[in-house]
């Protein structure tokens, strides 16, 4: 026997009537639960937590202090300024994106909200990708140079005659690692059946997640224009 969509609609309505008597949801219990019993959890959820800020503040303070003390020494000033800028830019981006996510109005029409969510996702993925790729460059040799000079007063440039070449090689290697990491994550992600987390990580570096989000945005645009997507 063939079922039509209209017959399914009648079936659905019958189930809906049963549902009315089966589900209990009390405004009083909601209020008690959200406002009294789980207020802290709800507030934590609403605040979202500014982990970026907590992570960034001690580093910003340290790099700021270091820059002020080594303003006339470009070999220390340059890595410290780069680290300060990296920390500041990615902390601000992280906080901005978290706030935008918190402020999304889920009561908007589906297309509008989903478009905002997907755009935010693209921004978040791009931030993660570039934070990782530039971070591996800055948070190795430049950071060690600044850390040793700032905390222990040790000038790593002069520890040995080999050191300046070692530092230069490391920085060049870090720069070269950026396109290599993108290429490798594209290759590894396809072949590695490993953990979901690792696959997500390689997808993030390879830009596959961004491509998927753009594809969904295109699908939304086609839906809005009345074009078929399937």
């Amino acid at each position: 026997m063939e079922m039509t969509l209209d017959q399914l609609k009648t079936e659905w309505a019958a189930r809906d009537r049963l549902l009315q008597d089966s589900i209990r949801l009390h405004g009083r219990l909601l209020r008690e639960s959200f406002v009294d019993k789980h207020r802290t959890r709800m507030e934590r959820l609403a605040a979202g937590g500014n982990f970026e800020l907590l992570f960034a503040l001690p580093f910003l303070a340290f790099f700021g202090w270091f820059i002020a003390r080594h303003i006339a020494q470009p070999e220390f000033l340059l890595p410290a300024v780069a680290l300060q800028a990296w920390t500041l830019v990615f902390a601000v981006l992280g906080i901005q994106q978290r706030q935008k996510l918190q402020n999304l109005d889920y009561g908007q029409p589906v297309i509008e909200l989903q478009r905002s969510v997907e755009r935010l996702k693209i921004a978040r993925l791009a931030t993660f990708k570039w934070a990782f790729l530039t971070g591996q460059l800055l948070w190795w040799v430049p950071f060690v140079l600044v850390l040793f000079k700032g905390l222990f007063g040790v000038n790593l440039y002069t520890v040995s005659t080999f050191m300046p070449r070692f530092i230069a090689c490391n920085i060049l290697f870090g720069v070269a690692a950026i396109p290599c990491a993108i290429w490798a994550s594209r290759r590894i992600g396809d072949r590695c059946g490993g953990s979901e987390r690792f696959r997500k990580f390689t997808d993030g570096i390879a830009g596959r997640d961004i491509a998927a989000a753009r594809e969904f945005l295109d699908r939304l645009a086609r839906l809005e224009r009345g074009e078929t997507s399937d």
């Binding site: 039509t4 549902l19 949801l25 405004g27 009083r28 406002v35 019993k37 709800m42 009561g107 589906v110």
Partner: protein, 183 residues
């Protein structure tokens, strides 16, 4: 002027003395509670997932209540939230809020609701198969159609034109027809 009205409308949604939703909004939420389960059923096959999804929807509805604009029908607004949360959940975009507020404490009995949509029934299996073959946006359209919404109302929830809605519903009808023919 319109912006001022909008702000005023949104302000009415909350009790001015506290940041909690007013009693009439809670009553509306209670009256439309079935929406949450039906949207969750449309997007999640797994029972535990459905429970998580209903919990996410409830929290999002609660958090959005102060922003409710009274010019929009409460049911339309609630469908928008439920579908938006469900699509984000479906696309693995939502923040996991598991166990933030245990759902059984709210009196929302998922097991009892599941019994109403018992898939031992042949008609419901047909419906389930149809839904499973649709993408996340078409699922929203078919759900709203099954709910008895007309094209204009569906367009209002989804944010596309009523003509577009009608075309898509017809396509889904044809798909169902073709599937029966093939079977």
């Amino acid at each position: 002027m319109q912006a001022a009205n909008s702000t005023a409308n949104q302000m009415q949604a909350t009790d001015p003395t506290e940041s909690e939703p007013s009693a009439d909004l809670l009553a509306q939420l209670e009256a439309h509670k079935r929406i949450l389960y039906k949207v969750a059923y449309t997007y999640c096959r797994d029972r535990d997932d459905r429970q998580d999804l209903v919990q996410e929807m409830l929290i999002q509805v609660w958090r959005s209540l102060p922003r409710f604009d009274r010019r929009v029908k409460f049911s339309t607004w609630m469908y928008r939230i439920a579908v938006n949360v469900a699509i984000s959940h479906y696309r693995n975009e939502s923040r996991r809020i598991r166990n933030t507020v245990p759902i059984d404490e709210l009196g929302f009995d998922i097991a009892a609701a599941d019994r109403c949509f018992d898939e031992d029934d042949a008609n419901l299996r047909v419906l389930r198969n149809l839904i499973d073959g649709l993408d996340e946006m078409n699922r929203a359209l078919i759900l709203l159609f099954l709910e008895g919404f007309n094209a204009e109302d569906i367009a209002d929830v989804v944010g596309i034109s009523a003509t577009n809605v009608s075309t898509r519903i017809n396509r889904i009808k044809s798909k169902l027809h073709a599937e029966f023919k093939a079977a």
